[in-house]
Amino acid sequence: MSPELFAQLGDLCRDPAAFDRLKQILADEIHPLEWQIIQANFQLERQKALFGVISRLRNPLDLETIFQATATEIRQLMGADRVGMFRFYPDAHWNDGEFVSEDVDAAFDSAIATKIHDHCFGDQFAVHYQKGRVQAVADIHNAGLSDCHIKVLSQFQVRANLAVPLLQGEHLWGLLCIHQCRTTRQWQDTEIEFVNQIASHLGVALQHAELLAKLQTEIIDRQQAEQRAQELNQGLQQAVIELRAVNKELETFSYSVSHDLRAPLRSIDGFSQALIEDCVEQLDETGNDYLRRIRMATQKMGQLIDDLLTLSRVIRSDMQREPVDLSRLASQTCKDLQQADPARQVELIIASGIVDRGDSRLLQVVLENLLNNAWKFTAKKPQAKIEFGMMPSEPNMPPTYFVRDDGVGFDMAYTSKLFSPFQRLHSVSEFPGNGIGLATVQRIVHRHGGQVWTEGSIDRGATFYFTLTTEELIK
């Protein structure tokens, strides 16, 4: 109550004793009210400060900006000498850290970026802070603090210290520190509560920052992955271009083979035949035999060139994938074989309705080669049997087809050789052929993503199995 008001009241009350009494009563009455008003004002300011912190949290500001603004606000509101955000170094077991943000009275040193080591903190205090402990020290020299703790605080001229935890989720990230440097200071409960509230809001900001950091890492990771994918893609495109060029060259090459290699053969064959026709009188039987051998050899080479061309066409031709009736292809091939060699007695067993996806022209080459082989290698049997069918299906396995014969078979020791070009297991005089057929079959099957393998034994026939899909695709 103002002295002027007391003077006015004194005029009204002449009895000094009564007046003193009156003054006392009034003072008792007014004092709490004044205190309440101060408290309410403080409360209001605190709410404003809190609101400021929360508003900043809503805006996409960086942690540093939020910390700085908050420190300034708290220091003003509480009349403190320094407000700082202290951060523990990750993995330092809360023994080491530094102030990352600060607002300090110009009369005192800045605590920013000074490395602080307090070897007794981690063991003794971290656990408690993690659980929300607050340290409110009115006078650092009269609070029973450890020497190392006092040393750390004195370094920054601290006389009274209020430290509340900054938690990132449940992890003790750092401390929000309010320092009084000029004097000691008794921290009020309301002040402590206020600082606690601010700290918990800053905790939200810390979590946001952590999420943001994770997100940014993820974005960078993705960008890097994208970059890598792009590089890979470029490499792939380059490879495709190179492959195209190689294919083109191969095409030109096989065209020359097809044209230029056959022409001289035709000359050799043609003029040998001309000799046989025109000079039969001048040549003896041996001479004629030699000419016949020349013709045989040239024709064989002609066939070889044709087969090699088929093989190279198989490798480079474009592939279509469409449903193909393998049973029909097999039947047609067998019919052709039977017609070309009607004297043969062969039992043909062709399973019906076998359809798979693939290139019909290439699959026809596969079946022709396999069935031709079966036909050829059963030639010496008076009653032969040739089968085309499908193995019983197994879960997660591609359908397996087979061509089986009961002909001369082969020694399993040589199976690895069977699919290489020009490899033969029988002499040409025994069974004709040039060893390109199975190589072609294998290339076609591989181009479909399938496998081809064989089983057989001498004089007990052979079975060729093939699939047209990769196992991975089935799974």
């Binding site: 022409a263 001289p264 035709r266 064959d269 035949q273 013709r295 080479m301 044709d306 061309l309």
Partner: protein
């Protein structure tokens, strides 16, 4: 051979002298006695057909009964010859048989696209080659009715 067929000309477009000799031999042995004109490349073939260059004095009305056309030729290749023959109204109906070593799908497709009348792949086996030439001669000189002049 009938009178009608005999004075008809076969234009053989062939750069390989061996193939030329063998083709002529095959025709002779099958008693196809028609005049055989040989052009050794695409330019000579076009000169003959359009009466230019060394054939400038030839009468364009006298068309060959059939052209046996190799594809791989020096200077102008067979496909180009075929294209120009089909483009010109005077020769667009001329029977052209492609007679080549190539069995490449591309060559077949191009030849038929440009309008060849037939496509024969020369076999290595001379007996088969000879037979192919005989049948060609018989068909195009005797059986086939040529387009009106």
């Amino acid at each position: 051979m009938t009178e009608r067929a005999n004075h008809k000309v076969i234009l053989l477009v062939e750069d390989n002298p061996d193939d030329e000799a063998l083709a002529i031999r095959a025709l002779k042995r099958h008693h196809i006695g028609n005049e055989i004109v040989v052009a050794h490349d695409g330019v000579e073939a076009l000169d003959y057909l359009f009466c230019t260059g060394m054939y400038v004095d030839r009468d364009i009305v006298n068309k060959p009964s059939v052209v046996l056309l190799d594809l791989k030729l020096p200077r102008i290749d067979g496909l180009e010859v075929l294209r120009r023959v089909r483009e010109d109204p005077r020769t667009k109906f001329l029977p052209v048989v492609v007679l080549t070593t190539s069995s490449e799908e591309g060559d077949l497709l191009n030849s038929y696209s440009l309008g060849c009348n037939s496509y024969i792949c020369k076999p290595v086996d001379f007996v088969q080659f000879s037979e192919a030439i005989r049948q060609l001669g018989m068909y195009w000189l005797l059986m086939n009715e040529p387009p009106p002049v």
